[in-house]
Structure formats: C-alpha cells, structure tokens
Symmetry: C2
C-alpha cells in the first residue's frame, strides 16, 4: 500500500551560465541580498556571477564570506547581525554544504528568535527569508533540502534544524564552478552524495518517490566515483552535480540514517571531513545490511550495477589510508551514536554493539 | 550538457484515508472553500471526506458540482460567480481532469479578470487562490501540473491556460475513490496517463527529470493497462493513481505533444473521450517515431518492457472497436492540428501529411 508525503518546492535551474542567464528569477526574492559564502567558495566564479546577476536586476548585495566548514551557532549569529545591519531582505548562498546550511539557519533565525540553548530544540515555524542557492560542490544536496546542519557544542555533535520554509526558492546548478575544486574535496563530496542516495534507500522513511530519486542518483553517480580522484570533464562535473541534487531530493523526503549519525562523531572530535566520514563508515554499514537481509540493499547494488564487495572496493580506493583511532574512543562514539535520532531512522536499526563493530572495522586499522 | 528547469511545488499526500487523516494540511489554505466537482465525481466518497476534513478544521464549504467533461468558459464563469457570492477564499477540486482543470481556471480568473476573448491569450500572472486537489481518476495528473485545459470555442479545440500559481498547494491521492469507477472511464483515463508519460519523453522539452519521472510511470503503468478492462485490486488502483501522478509531474515539465494536439479535434468535433482520443492516436504516432529514428522511443519501449507492436496491440485491446470517421474530415483535422502549438513541441514534428496518415490509420476503419 502506498502511503507517503512528498514535498520539494525549490525551483531548479540547471545549465552552464544559468546564474547570469536566468538571474532575473531572483528578482522576486527581494531588493537587497546577503550573500552567504566561504573564503574559498568565492573564488570559482560563482560569487562574481551572482553579483553580476543581482546587479542586472538592480538588487543590492552585502557579502558575508566568513562561513567555515561545519558552521557554528556563532557563525550563524554573525550572519544574522550583518543581515540586520545591512538591511538585507533575502539571501543568496554560494558554496558547499557549509555556506548553504549557514544561509538556511540565518534565513530562519533572523525571523524566529531563539536562544543558543533553544536553537536545536526543533518546532520551527514555516517562516524564513527567501533564498537562492548556488552549490559549488557535488555532495551536500543542501540546495534542495529543508535542513541546516550545524555544529552542536551542547551535545558535541552536528545537529540539523529544519522547517518547510528552509527549502530554497531557487537552486542554480552550474558544474563550471567545480572546475578548480581540489581533488580531495571532489572525492569527499562525491562520497557524501553517494551516502545520501544509499541512506535514503536504507531509511525507514524511504518512499516510492525518494527511492526513484535515489536509484537515478546512484545510476549516474556510481560510475563517476573513481574518476573524482583525477581530472574530470565538464560533462562529468555537470553529471556529478545533478546526481548530488537528486540525492539531496532523496534525503529531503527520507532523511539520513546510521552512517550520518555515526559520521558526526568523527567530524566533531577529529575534524574528519563530513563526506569522508560517511565514506569511511559506509562499507561496513552495507555489510551489516546484507547480514540482516535489508531488501533495499539489493536494489542499491542493482542501481550501482556492482556487487557489495565491488562497492566496498570502490570506496576503499577513494578513501586511501584510513584513520586509525583508539578502540576505547570508538567505543565511546558507538555509545554516543546509539542516542542519535538518525540511527533510529535506519531500516535496520543497529545495536550499540553493531555500531561499535562498524566504527572498529572502519577506523581502527592497527588491530 | 545538462540544461533544464524543474519546478513542481505541490505537496503530495498519498495513502488510503489521507484526506481525513491529513486534512489539517488544508488549514493554511483559507477559511471558506469552494469545492469544485462534477455530479458523478461527488459519489465515490471523496466529497464526503473533504467535507469531513474541512468541518474538522472549522472551515466553511460551498459546493459547485456543475462541472461537465471538457469544461467551458461558461462553466468557469459560473464557478467564479458562486465563489464570489459565497465569499470563498480557497478551492478544493474533487474529481477527474475536468473538475480539476475548471478549479484551476476559477482560482486564476477570480483574481485576474479576463474577457472571454482574452482567456486563451496567455500571459497570466503567478496569482491564483490556493487549492487542494483530490483526483478520483488515474489519468489526468492535473493535481501536479500548472495547466487548465478548457474548451476553446473560438478556435474549435481545447486550449490550456497556465501560470506557476496554478500548481495546487496540496494533492491528496487515495485510490479508494476509484473503486466504483466505470470500466470505460478506468480504461480511458489509464490511456491518458500512458500518453502523458510517452509524450513527455517524445517532447522537445523533455529534461533528465521529466524522463526519470516518465520512465518510472511507464514501468508501473504499462503492466497494469490490460487489467483496467476488468476488476482491479486496491493495490492496483493505488499504483495506477501513483503512476498517473508521475506522468502529470512529467508533463508539468515537458508539456504534451502531437498526440494531444491531434486528440483535441476528436474530442471537440466528435465528443470522443479525451483519454480515448489519445489512445486512438498513440500507436501510429509511435510507428512514425520509429521510422524517424526518435531516440526516446527505444527508451520508452525499454521502460514498458515490450516491443513497439506489443505496445500497439495492448492499446488496440483497450480501444476495442475504433471510430470510423470520413477521410475528408480527418484531412481537415490534420490541417487544423498542424497549427497546434503542441505539435511543434514534438521531438519529431510531424508534417501535415504525416498527421493525416496518423488520423487515417487511427480513425478510418472502413478503408
């Protein structure tokens, strides 16, 4: 029996040069943009294109380029303060997951006040400033999700905040901005997208729509993964960005699961890149799914066109030398992860012992 | 190179009993609903469920149940007048394509005045009353498109009006309302959905997103087509409604093509049911696509899992005895269709002679 909801109101505008060519689509968003970006995100041509498009529209712009990876509440507060002092009435996010997630939090918190303690308490109203997002990596899919993932120092992890108003109004996809992406970023973000598509299918909240999107994403993305370690073509970058967006549309419906729930520990305590953290944990998670007979696993492998060990080998090749963390620490991460809400969304919910096994197999090489 | 736009902001709520169970989602739409429906659409339980849900929300309701197949401008005017006199501020459409399309036109024309002559002139602003749609047939997909197709007596055809605000806010999908659908309606609407998915892929405006949606629709729909001639199960009706919605999402991106462009003549001049008109013309159109080497045809057949002649035989079986219309008349329809904007959207644009051949092969059995 079919029983699901689906909602993804973001307008997707995809194509080389689309920000300037279709920039008039931002006219309805407001009169003065706060551009939320990071120091390096700004150097790939995307910021220039956004400024050109806003200029063509006669819209003002104030640039906030101080977003760092895994954005903090303090960073979001700084953005809100700049937005208010500049008098901006809409937001354009330019960059990877961190600027996009910070932008969503800024767009929400500037119209819904919260103390630091309450930021992660949920219950946000569907109210936020309108946004356009310009992703410059193919990984997060944040341009088509209603989630902002922030560093949560209270719980020593990363936590999402969400409301339906956090879907951007417009997402501009132009693979050209990924041309000079460092190889390590290309590899890590691709693993993030891959994890989104897989976790979407391994979620209790998977729906026929999210499965359709995930399979299409995997069909496009999986064959491109090995190539992210080297030079990619324009067409490959376009395809990676498209597949990452499909994976974002997937988790906009299903949410993420155990891999993300565990990965946040590696990022919070060891500063492991978010996509890499997912990539590290993915293989052993899939092996556990095979043991537990999770039906979606076979559909995932069929979409990839590979075997379980083939997928694991592809990931191993992308990861190179794995982190080697002490067993006691990994045990502690298993204990912490077991409390994470993403774990409970897994079609097969791993026990704490199984989480420990995944951590050990993934990040303890000195056995 | 990927180059496309995608937009489909309707929230889809799918599941048995969803109108009442998730009826609170209509709370944000307004205080007083005009329910737009037809005499028979109202008898499958959907109208009762909508009235219950609105009652639970403390919302008022006025019923306009005078929508007939292939709604006219006069019918739309009548709906607008009732809406205004009742003081309704949102619309709930209940029924097949006719009530849904009439509802969209009412929602638009009550906030954008047009003379009868200007109704089909295009250029509508993105402004309409908010709507919820409850489809009770699996064919039109109108619940997820921004189009309203009305009878156009000026041009003696059916013509669409559109604006982004004509996407319903919510679509409630519950296959139970199709339980007592007459067999002929079940067959004809299924052929309409089938045509939408196929035409989406045969459109010049096909995109990677619309192709993904169309293929998923065809994979689900095609094996179910023969069964629409007999008793269907609950699960089959759910699947038909879902596939029809996917086909609607397809044409929301790509629009329709030659088959619809030609079919409107059969409906306007001979009152042939809309879905049947498409079904009649589809087989020979596909044969022309094969001759012209249209690449999407092979993808369509692969999604159906059948050969071209297998698909044609399936359609023949659904259609039964074909209409037999005079050659001179069909020649005239070819001439008229050649001017239709949908024809020009076909990946292979048929010449007038080819349109005549399709009409003759499809509706001239006395050769």
């Amino acid at each position: 029996m079919l029983n699901f909801n689906y909602y993804m109101p973001t307008k997707i505008v995809c194509g080389r040069g689309c920000v300037v060519r279709e920039g008039t689509q931002m006219q309805a968003l407001g009169t003065h943009a706060l551009i939320v970006t990071g120091k390096s995100s700004a150097k790939n041509g995307a910021l220039d294109d956004v400024l050109t498009a806003l200029g063509n529209n006669g819209q003002r712009a104030t640039v906030f380029d101080r977003v760092t990876p895994n954005p903090t509440v303090a960073c979001v507060r700084e953005g809100v303060a700049l937005l208010v002092s500049a008098g901006a009435d809409f937001i354009v996010a330019v960059g990877g997951g961190s600027p996009m997630d910070a932008a969503k939090a800024i767009a929400t918190l500037c119209v819904q006040e919260r103390s630091d303690e309450e930021i992660f308490a949920g219950g946000y109203e569907a109210k936020a400033l309108p946004m356009a997002h310009v992703p410059t990596t193919a990984g997060t899919g944040s341009e088509v999700t209603p989630y902002a993932i922030l560093t949560n120092d209270f719980k020593e992890t990363k936590t999402s905040i969400t409301s339906p108003a956090m879907f951007p109004r417009i997402a501009f996809l132009d693979g050209r901005y990924m041309k000079d992406l460092p190889t390590m970023s290309a590899v890590n973000t691709a693993m993030d997208a891959f994890s989104h598509a897989m976790e979407g299918m391994l979620s209790r909240n998977a729906t026929p729509m999210s499965d359709m999107l995930a399979k299409e994403s995997l069909r496009i993305l999986y064959p491109l993964l090995p190539g992210t370690k080297g030079e990619t073509t324009d067409d490959e970058r376009d395809a990676l960005l498209y597949a990452s967006m499909l994976a974002g549309m997937t988790i906009a419906q299903s949410g993420t699961t155990a891999v993300h729930g565990m990965g946040y520990c590696l990022t919070y305590f060891h500063n492991v890149d978010h996509g890499r953290a997912n990539g590290l944990l993915l293989g052993e998670t899939l092996r556990l799914c095979r043991e537990k007979g999770v039906p979606a696993l076979e559909e995932i492998l069929s979409a990839c066109g590979d075997t379980l060990e083939g997928v694991c080998a592809t990931l191993d090749d992308l990861l190179g030398v794995r982190e080697d963390l002490p067993a006691a620490e990994l045990r502690e991460y298993a204990r912490r992860s077991a409390q994470n809400k993403n774990i409970k969304k897994s079609a097969y919910e791993p026990t704490e012992a199984e989480l420990e096994r995944i951590f050990m197999a993934s990040c303890h090489t000195s056995r």
